[in-house]
């Protein structure tokens, strides 16, 4: 665990268990970055954690209704992915998307307001938890595994347009068994599309353990003809390193990669799932105490002398305060007007003369 916090840069050693390769050399386990960047990642993870906790408590106070899938415990993935990409790269994921939406540039107030169905939300209150978008972030998709072919398509467009960018298409361990994922693998490899297929393996597809759902739980090998890397998804630096490595690989024209992030969620699948019917509370507590991404990273920062205990506590407090303020703003935001229901259905200029509502009497004429 050699550390070098000289001046403004710091070098971390990730350890040998960070990566496992399939038909590819694994990235280097030595990561160097600026001090500010390192602290920024801690702050980002803490903010995502608090954001999800705010969503959790709001849901329990009935301010948020409907679906709400939280990524508490998985914060390293959205933060690590974002910190390895540029603004030109595209990200698409499924419905556990609040962390990604935040990291891609949406405001916390916008996300919380969207969850509460307010007009100030990122989708003007009309989308909810599963339909959030941000610049170069394609949501927010409700159908399991549907976003993977879309991700391949985005990469196709990037290659077609000659953009020096890649697409990160994320899906879960449950979705990894979907047919269209393999169709996407085929097309991506055939045409060398710059897409990174990232499987967030949190060991449970809703309530089904991965071993009960998949014949091959080494999701990074499922690409068969596509090289893969398994990453410790609870280590934000490992995630960042793997994505950066993959991005280079993809953009250089070598084609797609399949990355598996081994991670864990503390909450249930969604707010209607207690999360304890298919796993024991001891298991959850064990993961919390041994593999928590924020705690682990804090440990690393302290060890490498990047920051002191107090600095980090300050960041914690600031993150809590920040999200509390954003939550208050979101709670005070008004709901959208009823007339706005009919807006934004079609791209401006390609609209229809009328749109049917729930029943024929509700037909809206533009």
């Amino acid at each position: 665990m050699a550390s070098a916090a000289s001046g403004d840069t710091v070098t971390f050693d990730l350890g040998d268990s960070a990566f496992e390769g399939y038909n590819i050399d694994v990235p280097s386990t030595s990561v160097t970055m600026g001090r500010e960047e390192a602290l920024g990642m801690y702050r980002a993870m803490q903010e995502v954690r608090r954001l999800e906790m705010a969503a959790d408590s709001s849901y329990k106070h009935k301010l948020i209704r409907g679906f709400c899938h939280l990524c508490t415990g998985q914060e390293a993935v959205p933060v690590g992915v974002e910190r390895a990409l540029t603004a030109e790269d595209a990200v698409i994921t499924a419905y556990r998307c609040h962390g990604f939406t935040y990291m891609r540039g949406a405001s916390a107030m916008g996300i919380l307001a969207e969850l509460m169905g307010r007009g100030a939300g990122v989708s003007k209150g009309k989308g909810g938890s599963m339909h959030m978008y941000a610049p170069n972030f394609y949501g927010g998709n409700g159908i399991v595994g549907a976003q993977v072919p879309l991700g391949a398509g985005i990469a196709f467009a990037q290659k077609y347009n000659g953009a020096n960018a890649c697409t990160v298409a994320l899906y879960g361990d449950g979705a990894a068994n979907q047919g269209q994922v393999f169709e996407s693998y085929n097309m991506a490899k055939l045409w060398d599309l710059p897409v990174l297929f990232v499987c967030e393996n949190n060991k449970y597809g809703m309530g089904t353990a991965a071993s009960r759902a998949a014949a091959n739980t080494d999701y990074y090998t499922r690409g068969q003809y596509i090289p893969g890397i398994r990453v410790n998804g609870m280590d934000v630096l490992a995630v960042r390193q793997a994505i950066a490595y993959g991005r280079e690989y993809a953009i250089s024209g070598k084609g797609p990669l399949v990355l598996e992030m081994k991670t864990y969620r503390y909450g249930g699948h969604s707010m209607s799932d207690p999360g304890t019917t298919y796993r024991t509370r001891e298991e959850i507590q064990h993961m919390r105490s041994t593999s928590d991404p924020i705690m682990g990273y804090k440990h690393r920062l302290l060890e490498n002398g990047v920051a002191t205990e107090d600095d980090l506590k300050q960041i914690d407090k600031q993150a809590k305060k920040f999200i509390d303020e954003e939550l208050a703003k979101a709670k005070a935001a008004p709901e959208p007007k009823s007339a706005e229901l009919w807006d934004d259905v079609y791209v401006k200029g390609s609209g229809v003369p009328y749109l049917r509502g729930r029943v024929p009497e509700e037909t809206h004429y533009y």
């Binding site: 906790m53 959790d56 408590s57 849901y59 329990k60 106070h61 009935k62 301010l63 209704r65 409907g66 307010r118 503390y266 209607s272 207690p274 304890t276 509370r281 959850i284 507590q285 919390r288 105490s289 041994t290 924020i294 705690m295 804090k298 440990h299 302290l302 205990e309 107090d310 980090l312 506590k313 914690d316 407090k317 809590k320 709670k331 005070a332 008004p334 709901e335 959208p336 007007k337 009823s338 009497e361």
Partner: protein, 459 residues
Amino acid sequence: MLGRVAILGRTVRKASTLHRACFHAGNVAADASAFTMPALSPTMTQGGIAHWEKKEGDSFSAGDLLLQIETDKAQMDVEAQDDGVLVKILAPDGTQNVAVNSAIAIIAEEGDDISSIDIDALVSKQQQPAAAPAEVPLPEKKPQKSDDSSSKQVQSKDTRRSTEILQSPAAVFTIHANHIANANEIEGTGPKGRVLKGDVLRFLKDGKAVLSPKKDSTASSQPPAAASNVATKSPAPASKAPANDATEFLVQSLEPSVLRHLAELELAKQSTTVQVAADKLLKLIKGNKNLSMDAFVLRAASLALHQVATKGSNMQVGVAVESGSKAPVVTEVPDASTMSVLDLSAAVKEARKNGQAASETPAVVLAAEGMYSPSTLPNASVVVVSAPYAAVSAADASAALDDALNELIGSSSNVSAGSQQKKKSGSVIDVRIISNSPTAASLATKIKGFLANPELLTF
């Protein structure tokens, strides 16, 4: 909540004074907050406290089980989201009917000075903010609330009463067929307060209907503004007594073809038809261009009237002339009994072209087929003469059938025999008198007699 200091991982979890000595800034009491009853399912509004896992003063970490809550559906666990200390339990084990969002405990962060926490202030602070956000979105909610179907129905019912009664076509028909006079009292359960057929039937079954007598059925058949134009009479009699369980409801088709057929049946009930051998008549008419069938019929009718009708009653005859969509206009043809047939022909032609409507309906009106319907019949005997057709006797009919069969079977032996039986058949006309008068039958017979022997008319 503050993160725990753990260099070697989480091993120590006891709340000890070691942590009290941690460096922390600011106002300790401000970090305490009221722990509220969570809604563990979207439909949960209240629950009972089953069992607190932690005691007052215990500290807990994120993910620890704090308490178990009993909802109407299940007993569920509540976990702590963050590290903290359970300062005070406000709702102890066994408390029932605790509303969601009400304070059930006070929690504080590790290392807070517990004695400085003002519990009442926290609890009241918890109640207040709950009201504020609800108010803000309320004005926006109002336009959405009006989409609520139940309130809309009440609204629409009130507005509808004053402006317009919406009735479905089936409901309109049922109202008419059952001669309901107080149709505006029927409660509609359809969309926008529309009255549906089921509503009308229920109305009748409950005995709330006031039925108008059958005589006024034509007058009462004024459809409400929104209904169709068809005002039909029910062939089956509607009950005049207030409806009881035994009331029969009409179910009838409104198809135009069916209605025409029903009209025809109605007319047929009131008609007398005679078949007149018309050979001589047709020969006369064919011979002279100025003679018309109408003239002969009118002459015959007029003369027959004189013979049949009582003295002093109306002896006039007239012609019904089509006038578009309205009922045929009856033009009187004066002196039909005394005019010669030639003059009568001319007079009829004249009447058809320029005739004024008769001030008083004549006793007999000559009409064409289909001119009148049961509702438009004038108060007269209407004579309708059919076109001539060949009279076919029973023998002729069987011979025709034999011929057809022979053709099919193809036996040549019977062909010659059948063909010899063909006779020249005579022409026949049907004279139909549509009338409620008791003298219609005798009138018909007289007319038949005259038309069969038209030389009687040519004087």
